[in-house]
Amino acid sequence: MAKTLFEKIWDRHVVRDLPDGTSLLYIDRHLVHEVTSPQAFEGLRLTGRKVRHPELTFSTMDHNVPTDETRLTIQDPISKAQVEALEQNCKEHGIHLYGIGDDHQGIVHVIGPEMGITVPGLTLVCGDSHTSTHGAFGTLAFGIGTSEVEHVLATQTLRQKKPKTFKVEFTGKLSPHVHSKDMVLKLIGMIGTAGGTGSVFEFCGEAVRALSMEARMTICNMSIEGGAKAGLIAPDQTTFDYILAEDRPFAPKGEALEKAMAEWRKLPGDPDAVFDRTLVIDASTIAPQVSWGTSPGMVIDVDQPVPGLNDVAGYSAGDVRKALDYMGLEPGQDLTETPLDIVFIGSCTNSRIEDLRRAAAVLDGRQKADHVRLMVVPGSQQVRKQAEAEGLDNVFKAAGAEWRWAGCSMCLAMNPDKLAPRERCASTSNRNFEGRQGAGGRTHLVSPEMAAAAAIAGHFVDIRTWNGGQN
């Protein structure tokens, strides 16, 4: 029978189909970070269980770590205790750890691909909803809760019900200055934040094929914002080139690589495979997107006004009113005339080298607006190093930006990087929920290029027609 990419991956991981309709699914990679793991390790301790495969388990510290000069000595005693707990747990169980100060420390979803931990055809889980990022390699990757983290540590499996398949085809070519961030925001605007619930997206079509691995990771990263369990993109030459391009210590080598590649080439779905649902979007019609509300589905083209109470599909007038009140906006308002306080370039969505290059290209030779604070937070220490080798750090600093160290930073504001109440932020992150970037803070989600231009102008601009701030 013809199979989709998802079905091929699923089938090669079923240990046993169980009578209750679930399957015991083997897990090839388990990524661990400091926030969602301590209670899982404690569970192992209480039951006397061991980590079944420490060599398939990788951990780093990202959510809690400061991204400024204080990063090596965390001031917050509770954060410090959590980071130390991870160190202790990794030591006790023999798990790979890229801790603070390590050359490979970074956001868990940035370092996985970077180090060759993520390759095609795997099952990969992490106690973090943005695990969907790794689907860009044609690997079934999804977020789990702490109870499931403990389950994977102890058994290297999960009990899962088979999700549905949802094909999202982007036909045609993207317009200049429109990126994969805009593609995924557009999709979420169309289907809503629950539109993909119970499904795994497979992104395909000409516009997806044309994307770099970094751009593919951005689109898969936000699958969860569309409610989906995971997002997938079939591996192709772009994927293989990424894996081969640099030293990726955990990717297969030599003969093992050749054998793996032969299997990876068989992963793309069969031409006549059937999906439970299909949606086709003409990529050439997508404009730069900006979120205006408190849900990633509340999104508009940059040249559209803020919608009216009854103009938002999938949200009641009451929900829209609440969101507008929180955001300090009114229907009909133009976001290109609304002043911003902070611009944040970073997060597991958009903090890779290509994202920083795009932002730097806009900022090069220009100055941020006086009233704007601009933060650039690389996704990993390796991204930071690469950016510095290319001189991007000098571009950022000359433009008036803070050039930071790696971490989740202001995406979820668990470390000291946070918005004050009513501060308005252009953010390359993934969630504009109330208080996400700090209690009372107001988040607008955009691409790195849009964020960089907004930092210069002091408000959003339509990057397609912007004159670069010249009068």
């Binding site: 015991l24 931990i117 702490t146 629950a194 619930t197 119970g198 054998k259 979820l412 668990m414 209690a439």
Partner: protein, 214 residues
């Protein structure tokens, strides 16, 4: 995990759609390495004013809902972050049951709960019940109309009985058979999966994980 068979308690309303887990438990509470102590922080930013006082405008702060153990809310509850801390907070705040509506059908189907959240609930003895929008609307109206309104949830028969003053109302709900079996018997997931340890070992003999161990 403690078993869930039946539960009777006071129903409280949270009339908002798409409540995300950042709202259920904000990030500052995720720094704990404990599994307990999250209850008073549930819905923190809505529940308390910036000065740290109970916010009188937050519906769950009304005295009539203090003893709540059943929450009725709107669709896509628990979306966003995978943090199980959200479920721990709700459970430790006294919740045993959450009711939310599904909407539409086929491609337009919008579920009552987000996937990861629903799964996390099942690991912590919270029963998530999905009813039609009309049924949930009815429960909202009944809750507003009658102070101290109680309901009984019976997992075995998959029914929620609303004990309204003007007569009882019974709602039947669908429930995943495997989760039901686990909750009714208070089974430990890991222990259950380890019953298949031989299958796992057998599987590992031929399965390629494509990792390079340098």
């Amino acid at each position: 995990m403690d078993a869930f068979t039946t539960h009777r308690g006071i129903v409280a309303p949270l009339d908002r759609a798409n409540v995300d887990t950042d709202q259920i438990i904000p990030k500052q509470f995720l720094k704990s390495i404990q599994r307990t102590g999250f209850g008073p922080s549930a819905f923190f930013d809505w529940r308390y004013t910036l000065e740290g006082k109970p916010n009188p405008d937050f519906e769950l702060n009304q005295p009539r809902y203090t003893e709540r153990s059943i929450l009725v809310t709107r669709n896509n509850f628990g979306c966003g972050s995978s943090r199980e801390h959200a479920v721990w907070a709700l459970a430790q705040d006294g919740l045993r049951v959450i009711v939310a509506p599904y909407r539409g059908e086929g491609h337009d189907f919008i579920p009552g709960f987000a996937d990861i959240f629903k799964n996390n609930c099942s690991k912590n003895g919270i029963v998530t019940i999905e009813l039609s929008e009309e049924e949930v609307e009815e429960i909202f109206r009944a809750v507003y109309a009658e102070e101290g309104l109680e309901a009984t949830v019976d997992l075995e028969s998959q029914t929620l009985v609303l004990h309204a003053g003007d007569g009882e109302k019974v709602y039947a709900f669908d429930y995943d058979a495997s989760v039901k079996h686990k909750l009714l018997n208070g089974l430990d997931d890991i222990e259950e999966s380890l019953l298949f340890e031989e299958d796992i070992e057998q599987f590992e003999k031929t399965h390629a994980t494509w990792i390079h161990q340098g």
